[in-house]
């Protein structure tokens, strides 16, 4: 089975078992419940080149964690639905050292959502909380952008094989997360990211987290899988309140109605983590993005510009609406908006204006 003169480790057989085309997560779990990977491999008389599969993982620096192995995440041991074999890029023990908070949400967020995710990611990481997220576009990426700045090791959970970063646009962020913390996947190297793997990924994400925070989500967004998996396991779920007019806050607002705890500041998350008693190193006064104080801007701002600023909100307002509200001619209005944006008090999103 193995090439003469070379003894393959258990991890090689675990990887090979996970790479068998017909192998589902449940079968894999049953096989490894009683046997070691090598025993399960020979008993099942599977076909496949274990040495080559192992070589592929070793070359890419992919660790294989199997239930019973030394680097399998401790928090997964008691979960009956946990995957029996996990692949990891980075440090597989990083997840055992810090409390973990998942920050998840939609792939097409508003600027508000991106800002909140990045801020919570950075602030939580700075006080020693590992941020768990899915490296997807939008909220996930923003959370990790914040979390990789400094602090506790970031943890990512992805759907496809670890040798092929997806989405491509996050390849750099992916590498940074793997370097500072760990990127996990249930898929062996060489497996393409397929649709059905995302819900599975979202469940694993919940399993690895102590608290789940949803920043922005539509009614039936993928984050809801994470929420459901967390709820099943009694993991507290928090949601960031959003505008009732914003479709990207439909999901989060209805989560709040369903009894999830509201997340307005980092302290809300820390409370949920029961970490309030911890000595928090130099956390800036806990102002969430939502409760932020109104920037006053430079003193040189004219009365008219200040009035214009008062009309802007954190929801984008169209130029047409602003014309109607102010009664100004367009050149005058645009001039005011330009001055506000130079003062860092407003910015435009594809032609809509909101407070910075």
């Amino acid at each position: 089975m193995s090439p003469a003169g070379k003894v393959l480790p258990e991890e090689a057989f675990a990887a090979a078992l996970a790479s068998v085309p017909v192998m589902g997560p449940a079968t894999l779990r049953t096989l490894l419940a009683t046997d070691t990977p090598s025993a399960a491999w020979s008993r099942g008389s599977f076909e496949g080149d274990v040495a080559r599969i192992w070589q592929r993982h070793e070359e890419k620096g992919i660790e294989v964690c199997w239930r019973g192995g030394p680097v399998y995440p401790r928090r997964l041991m008691d979960d009956p639905e946990a995957p029996a074999v996990l692949f990891c890029q980075g440090d597989p023990t990083a997840i055992n050292r810090h409390p973990t908070v998942a920050i998840v949400g939609t792939r097409s967020p508003t600027r508000y959502g991106i800002g909140v995710a990045a801020q919570f990611g950075a602030d939580l990481a700075a006080v020693g909380v590992s941020i768990v997220s899915g490296l997807a576009l939008g909220i996930d990426g923003a959370a990790h952008e914040g979390a990789t700045a400094a602090g506790a090791p970031p943890i990512a959970v992805v759907a496809g094989g670890l040798d092929d970063p997806y989405p491509r646009r996050h390849a750099r962020l992916w590498a940074r997360v793997a370097e500072q913390g760990a990127v996990y996947s249930e898929s062996p190297a060489g497996v393409r990211t397929e649709k059905w793997r995302f819900p599975v990924r979202n469940r694993l994400l919940a399993m690895l987290s102590d608290v789940v925070v949803v920043v922005e989500s539509r009614h039936r967004g993928g984050s809801m899988y994470t929420v459901a998996a967390a709820a099943q396991r009694g993991i507290p779920v928090g949601a960031v309140p959003g505008s009732i007019r914003s479709p990207t806050s439909e999901g989060t607002n209805s989560l709040l109605a369903d009894g999830c705890f509201p997340v307005c500041t980092v302290a809300d998350v820390l409370t949920a983590l029961s970490l309030q008693g911890m000595v928090l190193p130099a956390l800036p006064s806990p102002t969430g993005a939502g409760g932020g104080s109104v920037p006053t801007g430079p003193a040189g701002l004219s009365q008219a510009d200040r009035a214009l600023f008062e009309l802007l909100s954190h929801d984008p307002t169209s130029l047409d609406q602003l014309v109607r509200l102010t009664g100004l001619e367009l050149p005058a209005l645009c001039g005011g908006l330009e001055r506000l944006s130079q003062a860092g008090m407003a910015h435009d999103v594809g032609g809509w204006w909101e407070r910075a």
């Binding site: 600027r111 959502g113 367009l330």
Partner: protein, 429 residues
């Protein structure tokens, strides 16, 4: 007695059509001594002959009248107003071959020019007063009309993009005689039904559908080279609704005419140059689902959006000085807004602005306030503007100042020009 005539070689632009029927018939009549040869002196003949001897319409009469020697010209009665545009009194209309032989033999008077009113007048262009709210859209139309800036409107379905575009020709000044003749020539060559009095005097508005073929857009054809939609829009407006749905090849074919004002159509049989100096107005949804302008309300996947915006190449997008975000008017605005300004009011402002621009000595830089220059420099340094973008923004700012009747470009004019291109971020590939 029967005769057959055969014309060789074919013209370089393909088949000449039946416009020489009349000339051949007169030639045969002279050759068979049914008409004295001297009676055709100083006359050229052009027209299609029906089987009953009636003279029928020939497309492109104005161009034919241009091309014939400066003689008296005999044409079908229905085409005489058109021929008279360039030939004046020398154009004579007759209704049948029998009438013509009578006139030539007996030297009687030519029939009088038919009075106007024979053809239905063109429908009126719709008025801007029908548009409620939409201050940004209206402003963009005025800027586009005053400075001849190509305009791209980006907005969800129902934001009034088409409604606004249809009203743009009304803002343009009436055509000069020179322009009218060019437009009429093109329309005539394309075989369009011309308005009463033959001369096209209002700026044309052409709105080809996004499934139109490239040949229909830029001109061509296998039998004879005909002008396409972009030439028919000369001195008027070419409106591309749903620009995101046009084939990439069709959009790219617009780049050369946008640059040079003419389109060269080449076929095996020869090359023709048609005029194509139009104001390009395009409308598109920000993404396939149409909702993307309002941040966070789009339901498209990232890949879908990328595919949609990839159709617009950066060089094509660069041709638009104005890339304006439009939004659906909120119900309050629709209900309480006083009727918007009329086309006449806007057209007057546009005319004044154009006059102001024309009065400036050509090639002289328009004066700019130091604050305006400082703002532009700041944007350039930030990377918010490229050098090309800077040039465009200052041109648009100049137009805004002209519209307000101000000689000096101020910071606010520049801000306005910047606001009028903010939707670029939404559709840039």
């Amino acid at each position: 007695m029967s005769s057959a005539a055969r014309i060789r070689p074919k013209g370089p632009q393909g088949r000449l059509g039946s416009s020489l029927d009349l000339a051949i018939a007169v030639g045969v009549l002279v050759a068979t001594n049914q008409l004295p040869p001297s009676c055709t002196d100083g006359l050229s003949f052009c027209g299609e002959l029906g089987l009953n001897g009636s003279l029928r319409h020939v497309p492109g009469m104005i161009a034919l009248a241009d091309a014939t020697a400066p003689l008296g010209m005999v044409v079908p009665l229905c085409d005489v107003r058109e021929a008279a545009l360039v030939r004046g009194d020398e154009a004579h209309g007759v209704s049948s071959l029998a009438d013509l032989t009578e006139i030539l033999r007996d030297r009687t008077e030519w029939p009088a020019m038919p009075p106007p009113g024979a053809l239905p007048p063109l429908p009126d262009t719709p008025d801007l007063a029908d548009v409620k709210g939409q201050p940004v859209g209206r402003h963009a139309l005025e800027v586009a009309a005053a400075g001849r800036h190509h305009l791209l409107m980006v907005g969800p379905p129902g934001s009034g993009k088409t409604m606004l575009a249809e009203r743009l020709p009304g803002l343009l000044p009436p055509l000069t005689l020179e322009e009218s003749l060019t437009v009429t020539r093109v329309h005539s060559a394309a075989g369009c039904v011309l308005s009463d009095g033959a001369l096209v005097s209002q700026p044309p508005f052409r709105a080809p559908h996004h499934r139109a073929s490239i040949v229909a857009l830029v001109g061509g054809g296998s039998w004879s080279l005909r002008p396409g939609e972009i030439s028919l829009a000369t001195h008027g407006v070419l409106f591309l609704d749903e620009m995101g749905e046009f084939p990439v090849t069709a959009l790219e074919a617009l780049r050369q005419p946008l640059e040079e004002g003419v389109i060269r159509v080449s076929r095996a049989g020869g090359t023709v140059t048609f005029p194509a100096r139009f104001l390009l107005v395009a409308a598109m949804n920000p993404c396939p689902c149409g909702e993307g302008v309002f941040p966070g309300s789009c339901r498209c996947s990232d890949a879908e959006r990328a595919r949609y915006t990839r159709r617009l190449s950066a060089p094509l997008l660069d041709r638009f000085d104005l890339v304006v975000p439009l939004s659906r008017p909120d119900p309050a605005a629709l209900l309480d807004a006083a009727p918007g300004g009329s086309t006449a009011a806007s057209a007057a402002r546009v005319a004044a602005a154009r006059q102001m621009a024309a009065a400036r000595p050509a090639g002289r830089e328009a004066p700019m306030h130091p604050d305006a220059a400082r703002l532009l420099a700041l944007k350039l340094r930030d990377g918010a503007l490229t050098a090309r973008g800077l040039h465009k923004v200052s041109r648009v700012a100049r137009t805004v100042a002209d519209l307000m009747g101000v000689e000096r470009v101020s910071e606010e004019h520049v801000s306005d020009a910047l606001c009028l291109r903010t939707a670029r971020a939404t559709v840039a590939p």
